[in-house]
């Protein structure tokens, strides 16, 4: 299914089948990235709106004249500080979205967590270790924009992978199931112990 789709050339895509020139650091030489997922862009609207609103705060404060007791050059530096903070906030929010990626290769699933600038976690699970896959799509936005959370139960060290708010969760689940079937066909059915 995913194999038949055109390779995604846009590096900002949240649902990128066979992304062009996209790898991860522990990739094997014969391993191929089949699908790269990020949170649906609609889930990022909140911080974009907050950043836009924050841009106008100095204009509102100029009516109240809260820094009126300070000379103009202080106002200027305060403005620079304010806009620098907005840039920092936007940059961190964007990075959290961009690097918080879920990758499906022809051998395993990879969950790259980038929760903040100080926290990074990368988890892997081979297809042989996957036991169960399901997804939930809830809420008005989730239903309208077709995004949800795909939960992968594994027998690996990390017993559960969550692909949060990814686009087309039913397609992702179907694709993972296809991959599992393919792996089982190649390796023979797994024995539950």
């Amino acid at each position: 299914m995913m194999v038949e789709q055109e390779p995604a050339k846009n590096p900002f895509r949240a649902f990128a089948p066979k992304p062009v020139n996209t790898f991860f650091d522990t990739v094997d030489s014969d391993e191929t990235v089949l699908l790269l997922l990020r949170q649906h862009p609609i889930t990022q609207v909140k911080w974009v709106l907050i950043a836009i609103l924050l841009i106008f705060v100095p204009f509102l404060l100029s009516f109240v004249n809260i820094l009126g007791f300070l000379p103009l050059r202080f106002h200027m530096v305060a403005g620079i500080g304010w806009y620098l903070m907005i840039i920092g906030f936007s940059l961190e929010s964007f990075l959290s979205w961009f690097f918080n990626a879920y990758i499906i290769t022809d051998e395993r699933v990879i969950d790259v967590d980038f929760k903040s600038l100080l926290f990074k976690n990368v988890s892997f699970a081979k297809f042989e270790k996957i036991e169960d896959i399901n997804f939930t799509s809830s809420g008005t936005l989730g239903t309208i924009f077709d995004y949800g959370t795909v939960v992968i139960q594994t027998a690996a060290a990390i017993d559960e992978f969550e692909f949060e708010d990814v686009p087309f969760p039913s397609q992702v689940t179907a694709f993972l199931n296809d991959m599992l079937t393919e792996v089982e066909r190649q390796n023979g059915p797994r024995r539950n112990s």
């Binding site: 996209t22 202080f74 530096v77 840039i87 600038l117 100080l118």
Partner: protein, 80 residues
């Protein structure tokens, strides 16, 4: 030469207030420079974890942000 304490009384309280505000700005921008440095390092690190065609551009963005933060600190130091 002894310090004439009577001249100290002439120091404008406003000037002290300005110095205090300047110190606060400098501390704020100093902390921001540290944040920008950590951000640039983490972008570098993540750019090596997930390699996309966009990685070099985002790394450049991180360093530009750091330069901006250092620029703001120096500007405050010299301008205020």
């Amino acid at each position: 030469m002894f310090l004439d304490f009577s001249t100290l009384n002439t120091i404008d309280a406003t000037l002290l207030a300005y110095l205090f505000v300047k110190a606060m700005f400098l501390i704020g921008f100093g902390v921001y420079v540290i944040f920008a440095f950590v951000a640039a390092r983490q972008i570098d690190n993540m750019g090596k974890t997930i390699i996309t065609p966009l990685s070099p551009f985002i790394q450049l963005l991180g360093y530009l942000h750091l330069l901006l933060a250092i620029g703001a600190f120096i500007f405050t130091l010299l301008f205020l």
